[in-house]
Each structure stands twice: as C-alpha cells, then as structure tokens.
C-alpha cells in the first residue's frame, strides 16, 4: 500500500459518499470503507508495514480519510427522513397515556355564560330543583289559572312541591334575602312536561339574569344582551327585541340575534329570516318587586332567560336535543 493508493482510495470514497442518493447507498459506502472488514481498517492494519519515514504521512492521510468520510456521511444523513433513521425509532407510532376527557357541551355553554356575565359583575346564584308553588309561580305574578300551572305542563310532586319550570324562583330567593343592587345569573336545570322531540326535552337547562338598581332601563337590557351575544356568537352580531308576554316582566320582549352564520342574509339555520330567537326578557314587573319587598317607585330592573341546550345546538350545529343526553362517545369525543 502506497501513499498514492491511500489518496486514491480516499478520493474514491469521498466521491461515492457524494454520489450516494439514499440511505441504503450511504450505508453501503459506510460498510465498504468504515465497516469492520472495510478498506480503512485494512489501511490502518497496513500502516505498520510501511517504511518508518512514510508512516507519519500515511497515518495523517488515513485519519484525514476517516474523518473526512464520516463527516461527509454525517452531512448527508439529516436529509434522510425514512423510518430507518439512526435510532430506528418509528416516530409515527401513537403516543401513549395522554387522552384528556371532554367537557359536556351544556357545561361549556354555562361556563361561557358565567365568564361573560362575570366580567360585567354578575354573580352566580343557585337554588333547589324542587320548588314551592309560591317561588315558582305566585311570587312571579303568575295567577293560579295560568295554563303553565296545569298538571299537563308542570311536574307537581306529592306534598304540593314541584320541579321548577324555570330558574326564576332563584331570583325571588335572592331578592328575598338581599337588597338592591342585585346582579345575578342563575344557571340551572328546569323541567317541563314537554313531549321529547328534536327540539324539546322535559329536562333542560336555563340561564337567567337579573339586574335591579335605581334607573335600570330597557336600553340597559338591550345593551347587555347585545354585549353577551357578541361575545358568544361573534363581534358582528346584532340583537333586536319583539314585544311578548311573560307574567313576571312588563314590558316583556323576546330577543333575537342576527344569524352568526349568514350575517342576516338568510340561511337554513335561521330559517331564512336572518334572525334567531335566543332569549325571553323584560323589565321586572312591579308586582314581583312588591312580593319581595322592593319599592317599584325607587327601583327598576331587568330580567332575561335563555335555554342552554338551545345555545349549544346553535353554536355547535347540533340538530337533535336528545344527542345532548344520549352520551354517545362518538358525539362526546368531538368536544375536545
């Protein structure tokens, strides 16, 4: 083995390293020169046989050869993206051990509502599901012959109690124990004897809000609901009022928001009207204030209520309310 032979071998090896196009070819070059039976170990073994005056130069050349080749091979490697990377790790395998659960859409909506109204200074209030006739109806100015009291609409219980048909009795309970100002929202479960279908459920959730202070107006209500709807459905959403009737508010309104999907031009979701009904609301009826000992000459207030399931269905495009209580994994796992 001469110095020239080493130089030739080196140049050939460097060329081959440059020419190799895939991992297999690179590996072949590595084996041919750097492998246990490759050329470089052979060269190293031959060094001893060279004349002493050439050994130094040959050793330097051999090292240069080895380092140069390793460097060239390494430089080519990062471009290699196949599975047979150096470690052999199949990085496409699924990870293990981490699969967070999901929050139910009804809980998500309630949490959003609490967060948005919380920033406006509303506190959460809760009450029992089993209510008295007084708190659910009488104190809310609903006369005994109003059809909502009928056994066909309300779940009456033995002993005269009932399953609350709205979360409004919580408003009464709060006003009974607290003087104005009052700023509360009341998320909770309600019950009505509706036959279950795609949009009705005998068991559903409501969030109601109540604000009582001096000089509260219908304009304040509209502003607050507009603010809420924009936070919930998007910044371009507008609200409008339609007059309606509820026993516990006067004036009473129904509140629509401009369709968040079509922007009001009309689509399937808003039934081509451009508007979606979202809340019942109004100014608290003075007869309700008198029941809880507030002076309607001094205080005024607004109240509103909306269906949580309805909001969830609008937000997530759920077409059947029963899906929310079916608890099918294939439905729930979409709420990641």
């Amino acid at each position: 083995m001469t110095l020239n032979e080493i130089i030739e071998a080196r140049d050939r090896a460097f060329q081959e390293a440059e020419a190799a196009t895939d991992a297999a070819a690179l590996e072949a070059v590595r084996v041919r020169y750097l492998g246990r039976k490759g050329q470089l170990p052979q060269i190293m073994a031959c060094l001893r046989e060279l004349p002493p005056e050439q050994r130094g130069e040959a050793g330097r050349l051999a090292n240069e050869f080895k380092q140069g080749l390793v460097e060239r091979l390494d430089n080519r490697k990062p471009q290699d993206t196949t599975a047979a990377a150096a470690s052999g790790f199949d990085y496409t395998l699924p990870g293990t051990g981490c699969k967070p659960g999901t929050v139910h859409p009804v809980s998500r909506v309630i949490a959003d509502v609490i967060r948005i109204f919380g920033r406006l200074g509303f506190t959460v209030a809760d009450g029992p599901d089993i209510e008295t006739r007084y708190h659910n109806f009488e104190a809310l100015n609903t006369p005994a012959h109003h059809p909502s009291l009928d056994a066909k609409d309300t779940f009456w219980l033995d002993g005269g109690g009932l399953l609350r048909t709205q979360t409004s009795p919580v408003q009464i309970r709060v006003m009974e124990r607290q003087s104005p100002p009052v700023r509360i929202i009341t998320p909770g479960r309600c019950y009505r004897r509706d036959t279950t279908d795609a949009t009705h459920s005998a068991n559903f959730h409501q969030v109601e809000g109540l604000y009582v202070d001096r000089r509260v107006s219908l304009a304040d209500l509209k502003g607050t609901l507009a603010c809420f709807m924009r936070e919930m459905m998007g910044p371009s959403v507008a609200v409008r009022f339609r007059p309606h009737f509820f026993p516990f508010t006067e004036p009473s309104v129904e509140c629509d928001f401009s369709c968040h999907l079509c922007g009001g031009s009309g689509c399937r979701v808003c039934k081509h009207s451009g508007w979606i009904e979202i809340a019942g609301a109004g100014m608290v009826d003075p007869r309700v204030f008198r029941k809880v000992g507030y002076d309607p000459e001094v205080f005024s207030g607004y109240a509103f209520g909306m269906g949580v399931e309805r909001i969830a269905m609008i937000q997530y495009g759920i077409e059947d309310i029963r899906m929310l209580y079916e608890n099918d994994v294939r439905f729930l796992e979409q709420f990641r």
């Binding site: 293990t96 699969k99 659960g101 005994a144 107006s217 304040d220 009022f241 009737f245 099918d328």
Partner: protein
C-alpha cells in the same frame, strides 16, 4: 287564531300587504305563525248538477255521471262514493287548473269518455277532506262560477295571541291593533233590528244564583228563525277562520264570537224545561251529555246553565245535547254572559274539555261587551234567518265593572324604556288603542282603561303598550358598565369548574343524564330502595317516572349503551343532582353528587387496547381516579372499607372514606346487570358526595419549603401470606418509622412457586431524609434494619435479602 284579511278589512281599511301587516303585528307583540293563501280564481270551475248516475261497465268503483253545467249535459267518470242524482257539485271543466297544479283534460277512463272532473274538498283547496264530492247548497244554479260561490282569493294570517290579550281573540280586536299601528279608524258594524215580538220577560226568566262565578248573564229571544244552512258568505268566513259551518243558528253564534271575541250560546227555547234559565252550581253527581256525545258526571265545583229541571250546559264551555238547536228550531234563547276565568279554567281541566268558548272565558271576557255581542247575533238571526226579535233583554248584572284609571308619568315612561317618547305620541298611542285620557298634567296623563283591557293594571302595563306600538327598534343599545361586586368571585362555581378540570385531565369525559328514569331501571340495581325514591305523579312517560336517587344506574346504562355500539373503553363522569324521600316523614331532599364510570383499559392509545382488563386492574384504575380526585381537591387520607352493596359484585364493593368520614362508594357492577348489555369485562363505578369536595377544592394551602438535604433510598422485599394486605405492611412500617422516613412506595408484587403457595412477595422502596443534615449510609442502614425487624416480628414476614 286565524284572521282572513278580507274579513279584517271590513273593520279597518288597511291597504298594506299581508306580509307588511304580519311584520308590523310581529313587532307589536302578536306573533304571526303563518301567512296562508286560500281560495283561487277557480278558472273553468263551475257548479254542476248530477242528472244521472250509472255503473261503469268495466270498473266496480267508478260511475258514469251525466251532469248539467248550465249549458248542456256532459259525461264525466267519477269514483266518489257519495255521488247521487240531484246533487250540486263542483265541475272542473276541460283546461281547468286545480290548486294542486293538476290540469284537467278530456280523457277516457277505462274506455269511457270523461269531459271533466267532479271535485272533492281537497281538490279545490278547501280542506284536506277527500272522503267524497264537495257538496254545494241545493239552491246553487248549475253553471255558476265557483269563484262566485267561494269568494275571491284571500290571505289568512295565523296568529299566536299571548295569554294576557284575550281582547285580541277576535277580528275586531285585531282590527283595533292594526288600526292603532297604521293610524286608521276602527269601524264597528252598526247593529239595528226591529223588536216586533212580545216582551222578553213574558217569554222567559233568568235566575242567577252565583254572581261570583257568573258576573253577568243576559238572555234574548228570537222567534220564527228558519232552519237550515247559514248564508254562503258566512260559511266561507267561518271556514277561512278555521270553524266548521253547521247550521244558521250555530253559525251565527260562532260568527259573532269570531267577530267580537264574545262566546254566545243558543238554546232551543222550547226544549228548556219551564222555558227559563237558572245559573247555578252542579248538584253532586248531576249528569249531562255534552254536545260531543260524552256523558259527564258533575260536582258542585262546576257551574252549569240549567233550565227549571236539569243542567243544559256546562257554563261557558259546552252545551248539552238536550237543548241544542235542531233542524226544526223556530225559537231561540240566546245566552250572552261572562264567567269567572278561574272557575272556567278549573272546569276545563277537570272535565278535560277544551273549546273555543272555554279558551276565551279562561282568559276573561269583557262584561261590558256582552250586550253588543247579543244584539249583533240577534240582528243576524233577524236579517239572515227571518226571525222576530222579542222586545228587550233579561240582563242579570249585579256588580257592573268599573273602569280603571291610571296615571301615566312621562318621566317614568322615559326612564323605564331608556329613551324619550314625546308626550303627544304617548297620548296618541293610548287613544288609538281606545284608552281615553280623563285628565292632563304637564308631567302626566290620567288614563281610563277600557274594560276589555283588564290586563292593564298599572303604569308599567301602559308603558308596555306605548313601547310596543311605538316600536322597540327605538330602544338604544346602551353599552353596559361593568361593576365590581363584592363576593362576585363565585367560589362555588370555581370549585365545580376545578373538579371538572381534574376529571377531564385524568381522561374522563363529562356526561349528562335526565333527572328522571324508570322505576324498572332502578329496580335492576336495588329492588329494596323504593321507599326512598321520589315518584312523579304525572310523568311524561313510564320511562321517566322516578327522580334519580343515585347516579349509578344511568352511568352504568350509558357505558352499556356505548358498549352495544362497539365502544370497548370509556371513562365517564357526571356531576348531577339526586333526589330522596324520607320514608318516614315523606320529606323531600336533594344533593349534588359526582359519579365515575369506567370500562376497558386505561391506555390512551390502542397498544394495550385488546388486552382483557382484570377485575383487580379495573378496581385499581377506579380507586386511582377516586383517590386522585380527592387528593387533587384537597381531601387527604382516602381509605376504602369493604361493604355489601346490591349492585356491586360480592367482594368488589367498597365504601370510600376521607379522613374517616363516609364520602361515597365504589366497586364493580354485578355481572347480572352487565349482561343486559352483554358486557363480559369488569365495569367500575364510583359515586361520591360532591359537597365535601367542593368545600375544600381550590382553597389556598400553606406551602412547605423544599428539602435542603438529599434523600437516601433503601428497598425491602418481603414474603407474606396472601391474607396480609398492602395496607397492613405500610401501617407496620409507619408504626415504627423514625422521623427521617418520608415515603413508602410499593414497586412490585410477585407470586411464584419459589415464593410458595398462598404467599406473595411485596417490594417497597423507602425514602429517608433528615431536615437537619445529609444522612450517612450507616444512619440510613440503621433505620432500614430496624424497619425490617419490625416487619419480621409484626407480620411474620420473611425478608428477602440481596
């Protein structure tokens, strides 16, 4: 309520389109549910007379008819069962286009020529009736265009009238609204008729025994009324308003009810015992067969209209069969009355009888409007029925209603609405709704409320009237001002949110169930807990007749239902309310719980997904989740104690205690329950009281400094009998531990022949640390040896060395 626009326009000359009117009404508080086009131009549809009917030679169900269309005879093939000679019917001639789009051509049907079609009611868009040919009045002349009989095309608004506005349940009531919205005058029909009969008091009498239940009762009599059908124009209006035409007298009462909102009832004068009326409570057990053909047993809570002998009507709701108007009626006693809404509603509910009349009386009918309604009906019976009106009226009205007066302060209006309505606008709106202004002050109006607006009781009600007519578009959108409220931090809400986060972080998905389920579902889990359940007296269905008193059945059912849909692994939790009845006192209570349910392996990927889960592995998953939830919430020292619970497998049910206090239960669902869904693998379910968790979660805890000196770890493996629990070993270790022992971790359980039958090897890692200095090996070894010795003597454990 259905409002035909052509009828409405008789009372208010509104020229806007149906769509525009509907929009205005919707934004003034009357929701328009639909706008329906009715009728048509009925081109080439004429009246025809059936002259001859013969069998079709080739089809049993078809008939060959000769009909006269006013110009001549033509042959038409017809399949209707009711076709008979002499009948007046609707003929669709060649080229006619029916409302459903069908074009009529001359054709042959099974070989016989047919030069048109005879129509059923559905084919000319009158109703859905297809049982036979639509029959025209016998007096109809053949050849009369159908449009002359049915009237020109019309539009019907279907309105939703809210409970507080019974005054809107009539054409005149709605016309009043439209007049106010469009600034037009309201035109009431003028009622005039001659009273040429005898004085009414010589014919009948009314005894009003309960003036609370019946504030006003009037009776008029009209004699010599012809029998038969009402005029076609009246029938047409009734039909378009959704009321079936029956006969002249009945139609007149219905017509006037739809016109002015006041229900009326016509009695056959000659069939009233004693020819007189008694308004009284029903006698106990008194019977009446109402006009719907149902025999009803009454009681004194029900108000009836009676004659001298028996009840002849359920007051305000439905008449009885004995006194109704028949074909031969000549003398009619007309009732116009008001009945108390509360009692009427109670009777409607009690008898399960909903009628147009009851619907209006439940919502209140204006006592002051009684006389107009009565006279209007009599005038129609005179003009359309040829009747002779008796002179005068019997009017029992002991306590006439007073008109309410309210002050309407302008500043109050503006304050409540949040924008200014000019005083003159306030006045004009109220006057357009027939409120009158009885006094004027610079800052307020005194408003006299019309008697038909009993819903307006205070200023707030007036403000609603002003706002809805003025238009709520005017309400500005005031940007809310956020305020800081003491205590608005909502610790309870945050605590729930935190518990939810802990569960979701551990891979559990939140589920939600109804608060009710069936007794059968509960019985599967425990047959003996029925006395503590809250049963619904009026459930929507038998599937939902009990309020849940624990969460386990629904969580198990949801796991099961998912299993039948090929889902093998699931981790669920529910935060829900449960309801209980105290079996002794009957008192009801409610509480919040958290339930946890697991099936299948815990892994988040499929790598271990096919391996069957052992009962022990499932219990450890479940216990792990429960303990982690408790500890993350801030409850320490969570222990299990074996307990027997009907829905858990024997030996696999446990009570959960935190700091010694019962918190709930956990265990593996019994195989007999699992097999409902054919689940062969273990299912773990836990249920805990939520309040103890919420009480501690999120509370701020004081933090210890991190240790300054390194720890020393020593392992110990010991062989013990299977009966020795891990808990026993840990307890033994801690019992004699030096203060330097800070942790004991189990890291291996090993069973083999070498270890011996009925025995197991348990390996622990013990960690020692001093708070004062670095421990030397010798010190650590000393502690460790002492503990080993304690295990040998305390548990007869064999310590494995090396």
């Amino acid at each position: 309520m259905k409002v035909p626009l052509s009828w409405l326009k008789e009372y208010v000359a509104v020229e806007a389109t149906a769509e525009a009117i509907a929009e205005r009404l919707t934004f003034s508080g009357v929701e328009v549910e639909s706008i329906d086009a009715v009728g048509g131009t009925y081109d080439r549809l004429v009246a025809a007379e059936i002259i001859e009917v013969a069998a079709h030679p080739k089809a049993d169900r078809l008939k060959l008819c000769k009909v006269h269309n006013g110009q001549g005879l033509l042959g038409v093939v017809c399949g209707a069962p009711n076709v008979v000679p002499g009948m007046k019917v609707v003929l669709a001639g060649e080229g006619a286009v029916l409302p459903n789009g069908m074009t009529i051509t001359a054709t042959r049907i099974r070989g016989e020529p047919s030069l048109g079609m005879l129509c059923a009611a559905d084919e000319i868009g009158l109703s859905k009736d297809h049982t036979g040919l639509y029959e025209l009045p016998a007096a109809t002349l053949p050849g009369t265009p159908l449009v002359d009989i049915l009237g020109s095309p019309d539009t019907v608004l279907d309105l939703e009238i809210t409970w507080n506005r019974p005054d809107c349940l009539s054409l005149i009531g709605m016309a009043r609204e439209v007049a106010a919205l469009y600034g037009l005058p309201l035109r009431r029909p003028v009622v005039e008729y001659p009273e040429t009969g005898p004085d009414v008091s010589t014919l009948t009498d009314v005894a009003l025994e309960d003036a609370l239940a019946c504030p006003r009762y009037t009776a008029r009599v009209v004699q010599g009324v012809r029998s038969g059908a009402s005029p076609v124009w009246m029938q047409r209006r009734l039909e378009r308003a959704g009321v079936r035409a029956i006969s002249l007298v009945v139609d007149v009462t219905n017509y006037v009810m739809l016109e002015c909102g006041h229900p009326l009832h016509a009695f056959d004068y000659h069939r009233l015992g004693g020819n007189r009326i008694v308004v009284r409570r029903a006698r106990p057990g008194e019977r009446i067969r109402t006009l719907d053909g149902v025999d009803r047993v009454l009681d004194p809570e029900v108000l009836v209209i009676a004659d001298a002998e028996r009840a002849v009507a359920v007051a305000g709701i439905m008449g009885g069969e004995g006194s109704e108007i028949g074909d031969s009626t000549g003398t009619v006693l007309l009732e116009a009355a008001t009945f108390d809404p509360v009692r009427t509603h109670a009777s409607v509910v009690r008898l399960g009888l909903s009628t147009e009349s009851g619907y209006r009386y439940e919502r209140r009918v204006d006592a002051a409007g009684v006389d107009w309604a009565s006279r209007r009906a009599i005038s129609l019976l005179v003009s359309e029925g040829g009747g002779t009106a008796a002179r005068g009226v019997i009017d029992r009205y002991p306590a006439p209603v007073d008109k309410r007066r309210l002050w309407c302060r302008f500043d109050k209006v503006n304050q409540l609405l949040g924008f200014d309505v000019p005083p003159e606008r306030v006045r004009s709106i109220l006057e357009s709704l027939e409120f009158s202004i009885s006094a004027v002050r610079p800052d307020a109006l005194e408003v006299t409320v019309p008697t038909f607006r009993n819903d307006v009781e205070e200023t707030a009600d007036l403000i609603e009237e002003i706002s809805r007519v003025h238009g709520l578009d005017a309400v500005p959108t005031v940007v809310p001002v956020a305020v800081r409220v003491e205590g608005a931090d909502d610790p309870a809400t945050r605590a729930r949110e935190r518990v939810r986060q802990i569960m979701v972080g551990m891979g559990f998905s939140e589920i939600m169930h109804y608060s009710f389920l069936s007794a059968g579902e509960l019985d599967r889990f425990d047959r003996d807990d029925a006395p503590g359940r809250v049963v619904l007296p009026n459930p929507v269905s038998a599937d939902f007749d009990v309020l849940r008193h624990h969460l386990v059945p629904q969580i198990t059912g949801t796991l099961g239902r998912n299993y039948t849909r090929q889902v093998r692994a699931a981790r669920f939790f529910e935060m829900g309310r449960i309801f209980r009845k105290d079996p002794l006192s009957g008192g009801l209570s409610e509480a919040d719980r958290i339930g946890i349910g697991i099936m299948g392996p815990a892994s988040g990927s499929g790598l271990q997904g096919k391996r069957a889960v052992t009962s022990e592995a499932m219990m450890l998953q479940l216990k792990g989740a429960v303990v982690a939830l408790c500890e993350a919430s801030g409850l320490s020292r969570v222990d299990l104690a074996p307990v027997s619970i009907p829905w858990f497998e024997t030996g696999w049910g446990f009570e959960v205690k935190a700091d010694g206090n019962p918190l709930g239960t956990l265990g593996l669902i019994r195989g007999t329950i699992r097999k409902i869904w054919k689940i062969t693998e273990p299912v773990g379910v836990a249920e805990l009281d939520l309040d103890p968790l919420l009480a501690v979660v999120g509370t701020t805890r004081r933090i210890q400094p991190v240790p300054a000196y390194p720890a020393v770890e020593r392992d110990v493996a010991l062989v013990v009998d299977e009966s020795v629990l891990h808990g026993d070993i840990v307890q033994t270790i801690w019992k004699q531990a030096p203060k330097e022992l800070i942790r004991v971790d189990l890291f291996d359980i090993f069973r083999s022949e070498g270890v011996g039958h009925g025995r197991k090897s348990m390996a622990y890692s013990l960690v020692y640390r001093s708070t004062e200095r670095t421990l030397t090996d010798e010190e650590a070894n000393g502690f460790h040896e002492a503990i080993k010795q304690g295990l040998r003597t305390g548990l007869k454990a064999e310590i494995r060395e090396g």
